[in-house]
């Protein structure tokens, strides 16, 4: 066996951040799915709301990106 316990913890931590990214993916999918559900009920109002769609996606995605950042920090900065 080689390596030390800190490195082990580092890699486990990186793996755990995948949960963050996965749940952020759920959030982004939720935004897009609800937009589509709304857009199909009233297609004429959908075109004006694409900006809102992207803002919502960006906010949901930001938290997944934060966990990706934590993974990068653990891998390359710690």
């Amino acid at each position: 066996m080689e390596g030390n316990i800190a490195e082990l913890g580092q890699y486990i931590g990186v793996g755990l951040t995948a949960f963050g990214m996965g749940f952020a993916a759920l959030g982004v999918g939720n935004v897009a799915g609800n937009f589509l559900a709304g857009a199909l009920r009233n297609p004429s109002a959908a075109a004006g709301q694409t900006a809102t769609l992207f803002i919502g996606m960006a906010f949901a995605e930001a938290l997944g990106i934060f966990s990706f950042l934590v993974a990068l920090l653990l891998m390359f900065a710690v």
Binding site: A51, F54, I55, A58, E61, A62, I65, F68, L72, F76
Partner: protein, 249 residues
């Protein structure tokens, strides 16, 4: 059928593409050293100038291809500001269009094979995000004075929950430059690293066909992401501008 790993040929680390190197040899990087970042930043600026200035030089009534693209970008950003920040946001249109073109070209030029992606570095996106953050804060205080602080003290909420909301609003206000810069840089790093990881699998004969198809698919997806991230950055700038111009609602 060869199933064993062929090894050799494609030996690289997925993160190697983000290394800052001096352009004309040498190992040390000082602040004045021309590096690959300098080169691709300059190319990004030149490309957006070329599209917007040279593309519209003819001022044709029936536009050619370059002029159509330039007009589409202009119209997209113009409509975005008008819809979100309102008519009085239009005085900041030149800056927002510059921001959009710069990020869009930075992302797109990064997709050229062997190119360097400037927007994958938090040093670059951090400056863009801090410029937006500081600019928007200054605009907010200049336009509204102390009324700008009503952004954090929400009048429509019951008095009891206002302090709690104020704490949340202040935190979410100061996390803005962080989330703006990390969203852009993170998306670029992740996408390009994934392409390189799949390219690494192409060295293994058994999975090579799948890997090559995956690289093509990821590349197409990255072209979409490159545009969407520029769009998202710009649209969030417009949202922040709206908060600065009309903080009370």
């Amino acid at each position: 059928m060869a199933t064993e790993a062929t090894g050799g040929g494609l030996e690289f680390h997925p993160m190697d593409q983000f290394v800052v190197k001096p352009l004309f040899g040498g190992a040390e990087v000082h602040w004045w050293t021309p590096t690959n970042v300098t080169l691709w930043l300059a190319l990004t600026a030149l490309a957006s100038i070329a599209l917007l200035v040279l593309g519209t030089r003819g001022r044709a009534v029936v536009p050619n291809r370059a002029q159509s693209v330039a007009e589409m970008a202009y119209g997209l950003v113009h409509k975005m500001i008008e819809d979100i920040a309102g008519k009085d946001g239009l005085q900041y249109f030149p800056y927002v269009l510059t921001l959009f073109m710069f990020i869009c070209f930075g992302n797109m030029l990064g997709l050229v094979p062997t190119a360097f992606t400037v927007t994958s570095h938090i040093a670059v996106t951090g400056v863009l995000a801090m410029a937006v953050f500081i600019g928007v804060t200054v605009i907010g205080f200049v336009k509204n004075g102390s009324h700008f602080l009503e952004l954090f003290w929400i009048k429509s909420a019951p008095l009891a929950v206002r302090p709690i909301l104020a704490v949340i609003e202040v935190i979410s206000y100061f996390v803005r430059p962080l989330s703006l810069s990390i969203r852009l840089a993170g998306n670029m790093i992740a996408g390009h690293a994934v392409i390189k990881v799949f390219a690494g699998f192409a060295a293994i004969a058994a999975v090579a066909p799948v890997a090559i198809v995956a690289v093509v698919g990821m590349y197409a997806f990255e072209v979409l992401v490159a545009f969407v991230q520029a769009y998202v950055f710009t649209i969030l700038t417009c949202v922040y501008l709206k908060d600065a111009l009309h903080p009370s609602h």
